[in-house]
């Protein structure tokens, strides 16, 4: 049987904005699953005693800690906002093409902004 043609050249495929938002929603989800063990370890350390608490508090007070927190919160906010958009789509809110593109863009813009705001006030 002849093999069918495929087009998987990532550099040439042009996704619409909802598509980009969607694949980032998936990527952020997978990355967060892989980070879960690290997060639980931080929780463990912070509750274990003065040393552990100081370690965690010190990390999040450092520049690298705040940068890491920003990146993590960006992933979390993107995943959360995109998820809310999907729940709304599930009940047929915003399913027309133009509103869907705008809401996808809103998710992508809001996520890093809210993440930066959160790091700023925490």
């Amino acid at each position: 049987m002849q093999s069918r043609p495929v087009f998987l050249n990532m550099l040439q495929i042009r996704l619409p904005i909802p598509g980009i938002m969607s694949i980032l929603h998936r990527a952020s989800g997978v990355l967060m699953v892989l980070l879960t063990a690290l997060l639980v370890w931080l929780l463990d350390q912070s509750l274990s005693g003065e040393e552990g608490y100081a370690l965690v508090a010190g990390f999040f007070g450092s520049i690298i800690g705040k940068l890491s927190l920003f990146i993590f919160l960006w992933m979390l906010m993107h995943h959360l906002f995109a998820g809310i958009r999907y729940l709304l789509l599930d009940i047929d809110v915003g399913i027309e093409k133009i509103p869907a593109r705008y809401s996808a863009l809103a998710v992508m813009v809001a996520a890093p902004l809210v993440a930066a705001l959160l790091v700023g006030v925490m």
């Binding site: 998936r26 989800g29 997978v30 967060m32 699953v33 879960t36 063990a37 639980v40 929780l43 463990d44 912070s46 509750l47 005693g49 003065e50 608490y53 979390l76 959360l80 998820g83 809310i84 729940l87 599930d90 959160l118 006030v121 925490m122």
Partner: protein, 112 residues
């Protein structure tokens, strides 16, 4: 669940857990912004209090199910080879269970 609705439990559970995770995340963020822990004892008391400890444990339980369903979708979509996919599903299943038990241990210790 009938044969015609088999994928439905995953679809529904993913969304139900998502709602709880979203709400509890907002609660956590609000706490860290408006009344962050002042030290170890304050943090332990907050985390070990009856309602918060329950909320945290439910949060991780919801995370386990939400993560599992999400990762399963990911593996089904991108890993067509049965042997590798089953292996990875098993690794993630054990990993998530281990994380769940670890959280349970942490929370029991802090509630004592």
């Amino acid at each position: 669940m009938g044969r015609k609705a088999q994928g439905l439990w995953a679809w529904a559970l993913q969304r139900i857990t998502a709602v709880y995770l979203g709400i509890f995340t907002l609660y956590l963020l609000a706490m860290f912004i408006f009344s962050p822990p002042t030290g170890l004892v304050d943090w332990q008391q907050w985390a070990g209090s009856p309602l918060n400890s329950l909320g945290i444990m439910l949060f991780f339980l919801a995370t386990l199910f939400h993560s599992w369903i999400g990762i399963r979708d990911f593996l089904i979509d991108y890993i067509p080879m049965l042997g590798i996919r089953v292996t990875m599903l098993s690794l993630f299943a054990f990993g998530l269970l281990a994380i769940g038990l670890w959280v349970l241990k942490i929370m029991i210790m802090v509630m004592l």
